[in-house]
Symmetry: C2
Subunit: 345 residues, 2 copies
């Protein structure tokens, strides 16, 4: 019934056109030294046989696979990842590159991510959500495969990175809360040791310092950027003798969790406690109360990570890019002026 159609090879085209495969190759690759007449013949044969060059075979000899890999060490369901991938996808359109998502076994000691990339002839790779210390990072840098790290502040001969100005972002959040009269400002943080988290915590300290508010260790809780960690973290903060009147979270999902915990206690946001998030995922606007949060240009980060990567691929001497995207504060409904006698020093 429905016949399976085999793809024609370059030999088929050569035979059809009555020329050599070398000549066909030259036509395909737009070499100038082919007569118009021959070029015509070949093009006709290509059209007739619906020939498409095999990218894989070509890659074997040229060493270029027209494929960039991506390592995502965060659940896809994190809206942050979705927005980033959307940016990646946008930058890839019409670039000629396809995207390969590697099934990496980062916890397997016998597994090497760099080997995986090389065995697939990847032209470059973007990596994100990996801690600076993971061995795969040094292996990657050693391998010489062009790499862009998102949110991991490492560089190498052919490796750059891109991140948001996390530090300023949280600083702005703290300042905003200060200006609203808050002095007991807590922080629901992320995973200790990750560049992203450390920078945000530094911004938190900056903000406190600029406002001359002493740092309290019991106001800072580690987490993992998830809804759950916001929920449990906030529950813990509410147990304190002097609970905070405001909390800055290092992700929007964590902020949602925190708000959930606050409301479960019969309190309201922002009347009783102000909450600010980080990321500005699209849900932040939909949420009630609409979330005050630090905006990251996530889509842009996705786009630029690919653009810079491709630049590195095309030019071996391209200096390893280090790009920092600005953060900005988006004020919505989850933060408000502190009322009453709560203001203390």
């Amino acid at each position: 019934m429905s016949e399976v159609i085999e793809l024609a090879s370059i030999h088929d085209v050569a035979k059809e056109a009555g020329v050599s495969v070398a000549t066909v190759s030259k036509v395909i690759n737009h070499y100038p030294d082919v007569s118009e007449k021959t070029r015509k013949k070949v093009k006709n044969a290509i059209a007739l046989l619906r020939y498409r060059p095999n990218v894989i075979a070509r890659g074997l000899v040229t060493g270029r696979s027209w494929t960039v890999g991506v390592l995502i060490n965060i659940p896809f369901t994190n809206p942050y990842v979705s927005m980033l991938l959307e940016g990646v996808k946008t930058a890839l359109e019409n670039s000629g590159y396809d995207l390969m998502r590697l099934s990496a076994r980062l916890n397997d000691p016998d597994y090497s991510f760099a080997d995986h990339c090389q065995s697939r002839n990847l032209d470059g790779v973007v990596v994100f959500g990996v801690e600076k210390e993971h061995r795969c990072i040094q292996e990657l840098i050693q391998s010489g495969i062009p790499t862009m790290f998102v949110d991991t502040d490492v560089t190498g001969h052919r490796a750059g990175n891109i991140t948001t100005d996390n530090r300023s972002g949280v600083h702005m959040a703290v300042q905003h809360l200060y200006e609203l009269g808050h002095r007991r400002i807590a922080c629901l943080a992320g995973i200790p040791g990750q560049a992203v988290n450390d920078s945000r915590l530094a911004g938190y300290r900056d903000g406190l310092q600029a406002a001359s508010i002493p740092y309290r260790a019991d106001y800072v809780l580690a987490g993992d950027y998830s809804f759950e960690s916001g929920l449990t973290g906030m529950q813990e903060l509410l147990q304190l003798d002097a609970p905070p009147t405001a909390v800055v979270c290092t992700s929007d999902m964590t902020a949602f969790g925190a708000i959930h915990a606050i409301e479960a206690r019969g309190l309201t946001v922002p009347e009783d406690i102000s909450v600010v998030g980080f990321d500005n995922i699209f849900e932040a606007e939909l949420f009630k109360p609409a979330l005050t949060t630090v905006n990251q240009n996530i889509h842009t980060i996705g786009v630029k990570s690919i653009e810079e990567l491709i630049a590195m691929i095309k030019n071996p001497d391209y200096p390893p890019p280090v790009v920092m995207e600005p953060a900005s504060l988006v004020i919505r409904e989850s933060t408000a002026r502190l009322v009453g006698s709560e203001i203390t020093r």
Copy 2:
């Protein structure tokens, strides 16, 4: 300083071990007819040189690339896509396959998705968000590449599909609203012609019919599953002389949009109008009011699409799978009993 380490080839291993490349190949591929002694030597050489077989080169001769492609014709930022990809990723772990996301140019008449897949030696592909009529679907079926269509009801020699029982899902939603006393039930639908939408509309009609409620064309509006289409669709419904008291939406995002429009009019959900969504994305629970919606086992669909695809790849005679996942109604806060004299026939 940091030396770039080249990956060893099978020739390097052969030389190091003092055997032929054929023998190395046999060791790699676990052929039995290799003496223990030789096997040892080769394994040592492999370890010494940190050799990994080049998947690409292997693929060129075996015809298998250990790569499955995915065509996603919906924005990544749609939470539905994220959940599906998370399932896909889960099923891929330890399968040996990597995932390639094709930069498809579906609107380019010179572009053939099937050719693209073949030129990349893809072992199989999962496609979703593509209308049944798009030429790429027949091309794919013709090509003989194992394919799983998600939410598109086509099959072929080596092509199956998977979908949610959309029809029953919406039927249940309508029935739920009917039992709450609603009779003026509208539908904010999706893209006409898409299998997903048609099934859901059929379920809407089923529900009406079972309740003996006449179908009103002005209660059914096409959309595109987005927040915006819920917003504008609902605005339109609110203009009617007899606006609906309940509306079933064909996506959660559309439901969010509809609720937004209702509230912007000074009305409340569910007191004034009940709203039910479709998908049960994780935001549905977070939203206020928490959304009553039809649950799809999206993660499972992602998992099964890959499992079935791999089964088709491994066995040329595997019958084209057609799987339908059950839908279920999740009742939350966005639907309520109709009060007062609103009940009419």
